[in-house]
């Protein structure tokens, strides 16, 4: 009961936070000088992108925890993060072109950062496909953990290797130090929006884990009835 209550509270907080974020994106944050209104998509795009990458870190941590402790919860966690992270990553790949088209004049370019996001998306697909295709049910968790760990190592290599490539993408504005010149109100908007998307991510992961648990119970009950 408390679980259901805290889950409801989580949903409520997420909705309010999301609304505040939307308000800030469209009304509070000032109009960007060169790019104009279309720049407002940046807040969503950035939040999705950072969370999608963060999601793979969580898959990695869940995988390590599973191989170490063999706890089913750790694997459920990785699986949930993969599904939600994949949706986020799709979001990045959809919002990016919408922004790129008016600003760069093209939908897509094989620039380093775009490429590495695309690879991240492929890594999500690889992880989820593997889970769907493993033949022996006892092995899914182990194999998924292994692939999740290597996938994350690759994501790291990825974000290192783009330094060796020239890039068209805006340089990181957030971590770029004091001189990177993001207006304070914009900065606040970024943070609030990112927070909202993280909160939503956490809610979805939680719901997905609860679903996995419920399915398991259901199957156990069905089997007992059949016996």
């Amino acid at each position: 009961m408390t679980e259901r209550l805290s889950s409801a509270a989580h949903l409520y907080i997420t909705s309010v936070w999301m609304t505040v974020a939307l308000y800030m994106d469209f009304l509070y944050a000032p109009r960007e000088l060169t790019m104009g209104e279309v720049q407002r998509i940046f807040y969503v795009h950035f939040s999705l992108a950072v969370t999608a990458l963060f999601g793979y870190l969580l898959i990695f941590l869940g995988g390590v925890a599973y191989l170490w402790k063999r706890s089913r919860a750790a694997d459920d966690f990785s699986h949930a993060c993969a599904e939600v992270g994949f949706v986020y990553c799709c979001g990045v790949l959809l919002t990016g072109p919408l922004w790129a088209r008016p600003v760069w004049g093209i939908w897509w370019t094989w620039d380093a950062r775009l490429t590495s996001t695309f690879i991240l998306w492929l890594l999500y697909i690889a992880y989820l496909m593997l889970r769907a295709y493993v033949t022996s049910p006892g092995r899914v968790e182990i194999l998924a953990s292994v692939v999740g760990i290597i996938g994350f190592v690759d994501a790291i290599v990825d974000y290192m290797a783009i330094r060796w490539w020239r890039t068209q993408h805006p340089q990181p504005v957030i971590m770029g130090g004091a001189g990177s010149g993001l207006e304070p109100r914009m900065w606040l908007t970024v943070m609030v929006t990112w927070g909202a998307f993280l909160c939503l991510f956490a809610y979805l992961v939680r719901a997905r884990m609860a679903l996995a648990e419920a399915r398991r119970e259901l199957r156990a009950l069905k089997r007992e009835l059949a016996m």
Binding site: I125, A126, I142
Partner: protein, 222 residues
């Protein structure tokens, strides 16, 4: 060390008897180069510019073909479990299988490069030492990934599809860096530049060799 050698020799002997993996890898690699030629019908200079990418794409596809076969043979009759029953460190199995894959990939690469140099009237000799280093390190990382993912894909339906889906996104940077380095070596770039390229390929490859080495024991488990 002795065990790694035993496993490698076993794989080579099986290949010598069946002659399945290596010929199919070579033919497949050659077909990629052949198709490319007629798909683009490029002038000679243009071809040379595109050649590094073309070669590595051919290696990548040939490799995936070989890695799949490598574990298809182990899965048959449960041989992989037979290995797991022996009192040996699972990572030695990884190293043995990886070396066997590396040998097969290396032979296929040599065949493809030789054919390409004939078909495109180009000599690889001036850059041979660099090329050998790039091929070695690039293939090492690629074979390491192929070995662990081959073992993973062996437990799935449609492993022919599953292996490339796992392999290509992760091997992406090995291939890109190897292509860059190969291009530098072929056009005779300054020593330092080529060496830098080789270090990068070697660095990324070693990361994946270590990852495979550490994780392989879990793939054997049930």
């Amino acid at each position: 060390m002795r065990i790694i050698w035993t496993i490698l020799v076993k794989d080579l002997r099986i290949e010598w008897r069946s002659r399945e993996t290596l010929p199919s890898m070579c033919v497949f690699g050659l077909l990629v180069v052949f198709l490319f030629n007629f798909a683009f019908e490029t002038a000679r200079e243009e071809t040379l510019r595109l050649l590094p990418g073309l070669l590595w794409v051919a290696f990548a596809f040939a490799g995936v073909l070989g890695f799949n076969r490598s574990f298809a043979a182990e899965r048959e009759n449960g041989c992989l479990e037979g290995l797991a029953l022996a009192p040996i460190d699972p990572s030695t199995i990884f190293l043995g299988k990886m070396l066997a894959n590396l040998v097969f990939l290396g032979v296929a690469e040599a065949v493809v490069i030789f054919a390409a140099s004939l078909w495109y009237n180009f000599s690889f000799f001036p850059a041979l030492a660099w090329l050998a280093a790039i091929l070695f390190f690039g293939s090492l990382g690629y074979a390491a990934l192929g070995t662990i993912f081959g073992a993973v894909a062996a437990h799935t339906h449609m492993r022919e599809v599953m292996l490339p889906v796992l392999q290509f996104p992760v091997a992406f940077w090995i291939l890109i860096l190897a292509i860059d380095a190969t291009a530098d070596a072929l056009r005779g770039a300054p020593r330092v530049e080529i060496a830098g390229g080789v270090y990068r390929v070697a660095g990324v490859s070693l990361i994946f060799v270590v990852a495979g080495f550490l994780l392989f024991e879990y793939v054997l488990e049930e």
